[in-house]
C-alpha cells in the first residue's frame, strides 16, 4: 500500500477553518463542525490506519476525558466534544490543539463521558 498513489490524484488541502470572533456570541460551532465534516475524510492520514491499537485509543480517551473535566471550557454535558472545543476557541480560551486533532479522528466518542448516564 503506497501512499504516493493517493497523493498523485488526491489533492490534500490544508485545513482552512476560519474562525470569526463575534462579540455577541453568535453560534459558529455549527459552521465549524460542518467544515470539519467535509474535510475530515481527507485528514485521516494513512499512518492512523496502521496504528489503530487499543493503547492509542485508550490514550486518546484519557486525553479527551481530561478535556471534558477541565472546567475552564465550561460544562461538557449536552453538547458534542467538537462543539465544546469550537465554543472554547471562539471565546478565546485557547483549548489544546492536540485535543482537536484527536477529535477529528472518527474513532473517538463524540459526546462527553457522562452523556446518557446522568
Amino acid at each position: 500500500m503506497s501512499s504516493s498513489n493517493i497523493t498523485s490524484f488526491f489533492r490534500q488541502e490544508k485545513k482552512t477553518t476560519k474562525r470569526k470572533n463575534d462579540g455577541g456570541g453568535v453560534a459558529i460551532a455549527k459552521l465549524c463542525s460542518k467544515i470539519r465534516s467535509d474535510l475530515a475524510p481527507l485528514l485521516v492520514s494513512s499512518t492512523d490506519q496502521l496504528r489503530s491499537t487499543k493503547e492509542s485509543t485508550k490514550e486518546a480517551e484519557e486525553r479527551l476525558k481530561e478535556f471534558d473535566i477541565d472546567m475552564r471550557y465550561g460544562p461538557s454535558m449536552g453538547l458534542t466534544r467538537i462543539e465544546r472545543w469550537d465554543r472554547a476557541s471562539a471565546l478565546g480560551l485557547c483549548p489544546p490543539a492536540d485535543v482537536e486533532s484527536l477529535l477529528l479522528a472518527t474513532s473517538t466518542i463524540s459526546h462527553c463521558l457522562w452523556q446518557g448516564r446522568v
Binding site: G24, G25, A27, A29, L91
Partner: protein, 517 residues
C-alpha cells in the same frame, strides 16, 4: 373639522429610518438536544467576567483576583462570580415530594423574600457563602455577575467589604441632529378579549394616532408620531381553552374572536403608520424568553401591510440611530417577585447596571437553553429602555458615569389605565396620553388641550377663547372647538355651566398662566 381642512395643505406623517435588531433573539438555527441550563450560565459568567476584569484595575488595582477554590483564610482578595440567592420561600417542585407535609399556604405570596435569604457566590471552581452587611440580599437576585472584595472567615464564609457591579454599558452617541420633532408611541396590555377591554378607549387611541381626531394642532402632533410599539398582552384567550380538550365547533368563534378584533384595530393602525407588535405573557406565543414573533397568520388583515412588523420579546430596534430596547414586562415582574425596590423603575435601573435584561432567567423565568450565547446581555446601553404591562406610568432619566443617558419608561396596562406613552425621539422626553372611558371623555379632551395649552404657553402662543357664548377661555383651538361641541350637545343651560366651570378651574389648577383673563 373636515371643512376647515379644505384648502389647507395636508399634513404628512414624519418618517424615520428603522432598523430591527431582533436577530439575536430569534430562534432559528438552535436545535434542542437535551442540554441543560449550565451553558447559558457559563456564557454569562465568561462574558461578564471579562467585562468586570477590565473594570477592576480602576476600582481596586492592588488586590489579587482569585477563584473561589483559591481562597485563603484571612487574605484579602477579589472574587468574581455569579450570585445565587438562597430563598426558603421560593416555591420548589421538590416540595411536592418532601416527606414533611408542612402546611402549604393557600394564598401564594406575590413576593418570596424572607429575612433568612442569603447570597452565595459561585464560579466554575466552587461556591462560597457571602456574609457581611454590605450586600443586602433584598436588592439582589440569582443570576447576576459581580465582583466582591473581602476575605474568607474562619467559618468558611466570605466576608464582603465592597462589591462592584458592571455598571451601565458604554453607549453609542445619540445623534445630535435635527430640529424635527419625532415621537414614538408605546402602548401595552390591550387585552382584547377580556372584560376589561373597552373598544371605545382603544378606538380613541387608534383615531388619535392615525390623525382622525382633533383639530389641526392635534393632527400636527399625531403626524409627528413615527412609530407605534405594542409592548405585549394585546389579546387574551380564555383559559378554559387551555385544558387540552378539543374545542367544540360552537366555541371556535370564541377562540378566534379576540384575535380578529385585534386584527381589525391593527389594520387601521398599520394603514397609517408603522407598528411593531411584541408578544407578552398572555399572547399566543411561546412561554419562555425570548418569545418569538407572533405569527403573521394571526393577523390576516394587518400582515398584508409592510408597515406591520411582528417582533420578539425582548425587542431591540433603532430609529434614526436612537437605540430602543424593551420587554413586555416578564423580566421586571420576576425581579419584583424575588427582590425589593422602591419602584419598578429602580428594577429597570438595576438590570441596566447588571448589564443583563433578565438576570433571573433561567432560574425562575423561563428561557431557552442556549449553548453558546446569552442573548440577554446588554452590550451597549440603549437610549430608551421600556417595559410594558406595569401598574402605572413612570419614567426617569438615568445618567451614567460615562455620559450615558437613558430614558426609562414603564408602560402601564392600557385596559386598566387607558394610558399610552409618547416618547420624543431626540430629547429623551416622554409624556403620557390618557384615553378614558366616556364619562371622562370630556376630561380627556380637556387634558389634551391643557397640555397643548401649556406647550403653546411655553412657546408664547396666545390662548384661545371659547367660541360659544359662555365666554370661558380655553387652552387652545382644540380645547375651544371641543368645548363648543360639548356646549352644543346640551340643550339646557344648567349643565354646561357647572361642567365648563369645573374644567375652567381644573385648568387653572394645572396651568395657571394658561387660562388667564
Amino acid at each position: 373639522m373636515a371643512d376647515s381642512e379644505m384648502g389647507e395643505a395636508t399634513l404628512e406623517r414624519k418618517l424615520a429610518v428603522y432598523r430591527n435588531l431582533d436577530e439575536r433573539f430569534v430562534i432559528r438555527e438552535e436545535k434542542y438536544k437535551g442540554q441543560q441550563f449550565s451553558h447559558i450560565y457559563f456564557m454569562r459568567l465568561h462574558h461578564m467576567r471579562s467585562q468586570l476584569q477590565s473594570l477592576i484595575p480602576n476600582w481596586k488595582p492592588h488586590l489579587p483576583v482569585n477563584t473561589v477554590l483559591g481562597l485563603e483564610e484571612g487574605k484579602e482578595c477579589i472574587i468574581v462570580g455569579t450570585l445565587y440567592k438562597h430563598m426558603k420561600l421560593k416555591p420548589s417542585i421538590l416540595d411536592e415530594y418532601s416527606k414533611e407535609r408542612s402546611a402549604i399556604p393557600l394564598v401564594k405570596p406575590h413576593n418570596f423574600m424572607s429575612t433568612d435569604d442569603h447570597l452565595i457566590l459561585e464560579d466554575e471552581s466552587g461556591r462560597v457563602k457571602l456574609a457581611g452587611p454590605m450586600l443586602a440580599p433584598s436588592a439582589f437576585v440569582t443570576g447576576i455577575v459581580i465582583a466582591v472584595h473581602g476575605k474568607e472567615t474562619s467559618e468558611g464564609d466570605f466576608f464582603v467589604e465592597d462589591f462592584l457591579e458592571a455598571g451601565l454599558a458604554p453607549q453609542v452617541d445619540r445623534p445630535l441632529d435635527s430640529r424635527e420633532d419625532k415621537f414614538v408611541a408605546f402602548v401595552s396590555g390591550l387585552s382584547v378579549g377580556t372584560n376589561a377591554f373597552n373598544p371605545l378607549q382603544f378606538q380613541l387611541l387608534v383615531d388619535h394616532v392615525t390623525g382622525h381626531l382633533g383639530d389641526e394642532n392635534e393632527q400636527r402632533i399625531s403626524s409627528k408620531i413615527v412609530r407605534l410599539v405594542i409592548a405585549g398582552n394585546s389579546m387574551h384567550i380564555s383559559h378554559g381553552f387551555f385544558s387540552g380538550q378539543t374545542v367544540a365547533p360552537k366555541d371556535h368563534a370564541k377562540l378566534t374572536e379576540p384575535i380578529r378584533e385585534l386584527d381589525i384595530f391593527l389594520t387601521q393602525l398599520v394603514a397609517a403608520l408603522p407598528v411593531d407588535i411584541m408578544p407578552g405573557c398572555n399572547d399566543p406565543a411561546n412561554y419562555s424568553l425570548p418569545q418569538q414573533p407572533l405569527h403573521r397568520c394571526l393577523f390576516a388583515g394587518a400582515s398584508a401591510y409592510n408597515t406591520f412588523v411582528s417582533c420578539t420579546n425582548p425587542h431591540h430596534f433603532e430609529l434614526d440611530n436612537v437605540q430602543f430596547v424593551g420587554t413586555s414586562g416578564q423580566n421586571i415582574d420576576d425581579l419584583y417577585k424575588y427582590s425589593d425596590a422602591k419602584d419598578k423603575i429602580e428594577f429597570m435601573e438595576r438590570t441596566l447596571r447588571w448589564r443583563h435584561l433578565a438576570p433571573t432567567a433561567p432560574n425562575t423565568l423561563g428561557c431557552y437553553p442556549y449553548v453558546d450565547k446569552d442573548p440577554f446581555l446588554i452590550e451597549s446601553c440603549p437610549h430608551v429602555y421600556f417595559v410594558g404591562n406595569q401598574e402605572k406610568y413612570e419614567t426617569r432619566l438615568l445618567q451614567g458615569p460615562d455620559k450615558q443617558l437613558v430614558r426609562l419608561i414603564s408602560i402601564p396596562r392600557f385596559c386598566e389605565t387607558g394610558v399610552a406613552v409618547m416618547v420624543h425621539k431626540q430629547t429623551p422626553l416622554s409624556l403620557s396620553l390618557k384615553f378614558l372611558p366616556p364619562v371622562s371623555l370630556f376630561l380627556l379632551f380637556y387634558l389634551c388641550s391643557l397640555t397643548l395649552g401649556t406647550w403653546n404657553a411655553m412657546r408664547s402662543v396666545s390662548p384661545q377663547i371659547c367660541k360659544c357664548d359662555c365666554g370661558y377661555p380655553m387652552g387652545t383651538a382644540l380645547g375651544s372647538s371641543m368645548h363648543t361641541r360639548l356646549c352644543s350637545y346640551f340643550t339646557g343651560d344648567i349643565l354646561p355651566l357647572p361642567i365648563s366651570a369645573f374644567f375652567f378651574y381644573l385648568g387653572r389648577l394645572f396651568s395657571p398662566d394658561c387660562c388667564n383673563f
